[in-house]
C-alpha cells in the first residue's frame, strides 16, 4: 500500500473498481431504467397498494435498476429517498424521513478516545445500535468494546464478550473500536463495485443498494469494522430511529455490508454522534480537524495520541490517547 502521496489519493487507488463516473455503466442503467418504467407501470395496476405512489413491485424494480449514488441526479436521489420511505412504511410499518445530507464545507470529521476514562460500560454500543437501526440481539454492532488485560495491545487476544456484573473490573482496560475512517481505506480499494467510498468530510460510506454483499471489504479491513447483515435486521417497529439518511442509518436489507458512518445523519446537521451523546464518562471527543479551536485539535496537539495499526499505512481518522 502506498503511504504519503496525494491528499485525495484514495480515488486513484482503485485499480480493481470501475470508475464511478464511467459513462458505460450509466448508459446501461439508463436503458434498464426505461424498461423498468414500462414494467412498473404494468404491474402498478396489479399489486395491492396501500402506500401512495408506485406499487411495491415498481419500487422493487426501481431499487434493482437504481443508479450508483454518486451518479444519481438530484431528482433521482429524491426519487430513491421517497422509495425508501414507502418501502419502510410497507415493510416495517414505520414513517421514516430519509434525507441525503451533503457533506459540510470545510469540515473533516475525526474522533479521539481517552482510554484512561473509558470504563467499558458499552453505553456507546447500545446508543449506536438504536440510532443506526442495526438489528437487535447483538449480532451486528458497529462498535466493539474490547477488554484488554493489563498492558497488552494485542487486539486479537482481546475479549469483546466481557460481561461482569460491574465495570470497570480491576486490571482491565477497555478499548472501543469501530470504523477508523481511514484516509487510505483498504475496504474501499477492495470493493469490486465501488459501493463504498470516502466522502470529502472524511466519512467512509456505503451505498447499500449498490453493495453486492461479497464481503471483500470486511476481509480487507484491518480493524474488523465492517459488518455483514446475514439476514434482514430485526428491529421492533416502535424502536426505529425515524430520521434517516441514504448513506447512514436507513433500513438495510439482508445481504449488505454496513459500518460506522460517524452518524452522518446527525453530524452533518451539527449534532454529536450517538456514541458521544451516550458516553457517561466523556471518553470520546469528536470534531472538525480543520477548525483550530475544536476539541479534537486540542487533543491532537496536547496529548500523546496514537492510532491503531498505523504501520499499515491506512492513516485512520480516529485517535486514542490516555490522560
Amino acid at each position: 500500500m502506498e503511504s504519503g502521496g496525494a491528499a485525495n489519493s484514495y480515488a486513484g487507488h482503485l485499480p480493481m473498481s470501475p470508475d464511478p463516473l464511467s459513462p458505460h455503466g450509466h448508459r446501461r442503467r439508463t436503458l434498464l431504467r426505461g424498461l423498468a418504467a414500462v414494467a412498473g407501470a404494468a404491474s402498478a395496476t396489479a399489486a395491492a397498494v396501500e402506500t401512495e405512489g408506485p406499487s411495491s413491485w415498481a419500487d422493487a424494480l426501481d431499487r434493482l435498476l437504481q443508479q450508483h449514488f454518486v451518479r444519481m441526479s438530484a431528482s433521482e436521489v429524491q426519487q430513491a429517498l421517497r422509495r425508501i420511505e414507502r418501502e419502510a412504511l410497507r415493510q416495517h410499518r414505520i414513517h421514516l424521513q430519509c434525507d441525503a445530507t451533503q457533506p459540510l464545507d470545510q469540515v473533516r470529521f475525526a474522533q479521539a478516545l481517552n482510554l484512561a476514562v473509558c470504563k467499558g460500560s458499552r453505553r456507546c454500543v447500545e446508543a449506536c445500535v438504536r440510532e443506526n437501526n442495526c438489528g437487535r440481539g447483538g449480532a451486528l454492532e458497529n462498535i466493539r468494546v474490547l477488554s484488554l488485560m493489563g498492558m497488552t495491545t494485542e487486539l486479537e487476544q482481546a475479549n469483546p464478550y466481557f460481561n461482569p456484573p460491574l465495570v470497570p473490573e480491576p486490571g482491565q482496560r477497555y478499548l472501543p473500536i469501530s470504523c477508523q475512517q481511514c484516509d487510505h481505506p483498504p475496504c474501499v480499494q477492495a470493493c469490486p463495485v465501488t459501493a463504498t467510498w470516502k466522502e470529502p468530510d472524511g466519512i467512509v460510506v456505503i451505498d447499500y443498494d449498490w453493495c453486492i454483499g461479497c464481503r471483500y471489504c470486511s476481509v480487507a479491513c484491518p480493524y474488523g469494522a465492517r459488518h455483514f447483515n446475514w439476514s434482514q435486521p430485526h428491529i421492533p417497529a416502535d424502536d426505529y430511529q425515524p430520521i434517516t439518511d441514504y448513506l447512514g442509518n436507513r433500513p438495510r436489507i439482508g445481504g449488505v455490508m454496513e459500518k460506522c458512518t460517524f452518524c452522518l445523519q446527525r453530524t452533518r446537521k451539527g449534532l454529536l454522534p450517538a456514541c458521544l451523546e451516550a458516553c457517561p464518562t466523556g471518553a470520546r471527543i469528536f470534531g472538525n480537524l480543520l477548525d483550530p479551536s475544536s476539541e479534537i485539535r486540542y487533543v491532537l496537539e496536547h496529548k500523546s495520541v496514537f492510532r491503531l495499526k498505523e504501520e499499515l499505512g491506512t492513516s485512520p481518522g480516529f485517535w486514542y490517547f490516555t490522560g
Binding site: K119, G120, R123, F162, N163, V167
Partner: protein
C-alpha cells in the same frame, strides 16, 4: 513576554486559581463555554442564616447525614476546604475570594489544574448536543460528586452475541442475498 501572554496568565489565575496554568499549557485561550446544568445557589440560608458555623470535623447529623467526605483521606481538611463556612452558598478559594456554586470548576482547578484546563478545552469531561457553535460542557459534578469524586462502577450494557450464536461470525442463516421484496 508579550502583554497578550500576560493576560492569558492572568486568565489562568482567575479561572483555575493557579497562576500561569495556561501560560505554559497553551497560548490559545479556551473558546467560550457554557456549563450545563447551570446549578446555582441552594437554599442553604434558611438554616445557615442563623446557625453559627462549626469547623470541627465530625460525623454530621441531619440534614447532612448523607454527606460523607471520601475525597481525600480522613482525618484531613474538612468542609471548610471547599465551602466558605461564613457564606454557606459560596465556595472557598485560596485567594480569599469565594465563588458561586455555578463556578465550582474554579474550586476544583486549585488542586486539579491540569484536569480543569483539559476540561475547558474539551479533552476531559463532555460536550453536549452539538460539535460546532457555542460549547455546552458538563459541570464536574455531573460525573464527580464533589464529596465522593471517585467514579462508581456501573452495570455494563449487553455484550455482543458470542460466537456460535452470532449470525455474524457463524452464518447459520444463509445470506438472503435477494432483494427484500415487500410482503
Amino acid at each position: 513576554m508579550g502583554k497578550g501572554l500576560f493576560k492569558i496568565g492572568m486568565t489562568g489565575l482567575l479561572l483555575t486559581g493557579i497562576p500561569g496554568q495556561w501560560l505554559f499549557a497553551t497560548p490559545i485561550p479556551a473558546s467560550p463555554f457554557v456549563v450545563v446544568p447551570p446549578g446555582g445557589p441552594d437554599k442553604c440560608l434558611s438554616c445557615h442564616g442563623w446557625r453559627q458555623p462549626d469547623p470541627t470535623p465530625r460525623t454530621l447529623k441531619k440534614p447532612h447525614d448523607t454527606i460523607v467526605l471520601t475525597h481525600w483521606p480522613q482525618p484531613g481538611p474538612w468542609c471548610g476546604q471547599c465551602h466558605d463556612l461564613k457564606q454557606p452558598r459560596r465556595l472557598f478559594l485560596y485567594n480569599d475570594q469565594s465563588v458561586d456554586f455555578r463556578e465550582g470548576y474554579r474550586l476544583c482547578g486549585q488542586c486539579h489544574g491540569a484536569k480543569v484546563t483539559d476540561w475547558m478545552f474539551g479533552a476531559h469531561g463532555k460536550r453536549v448536543t452539538d460539535w460546532r457553535g457555542p460549547r455546552k460542557i458538563q459541570a464536574c459534578r455531573v460525573c464527580h460528586d464533589p464529596h465522593q469524586p471517585q467514579t462508581k462502577p456501573v452495570v455494563p450494557s449487553a455484550p455482543p452475541a458470542p460466537p456460535g450464536t452470532s449470525r455474524e461470525w457463524n452464518p447459520v442463516v444463509p445470506p438472503t442475498h435477494t432483494l427484500a421484496t415487500s410482503p
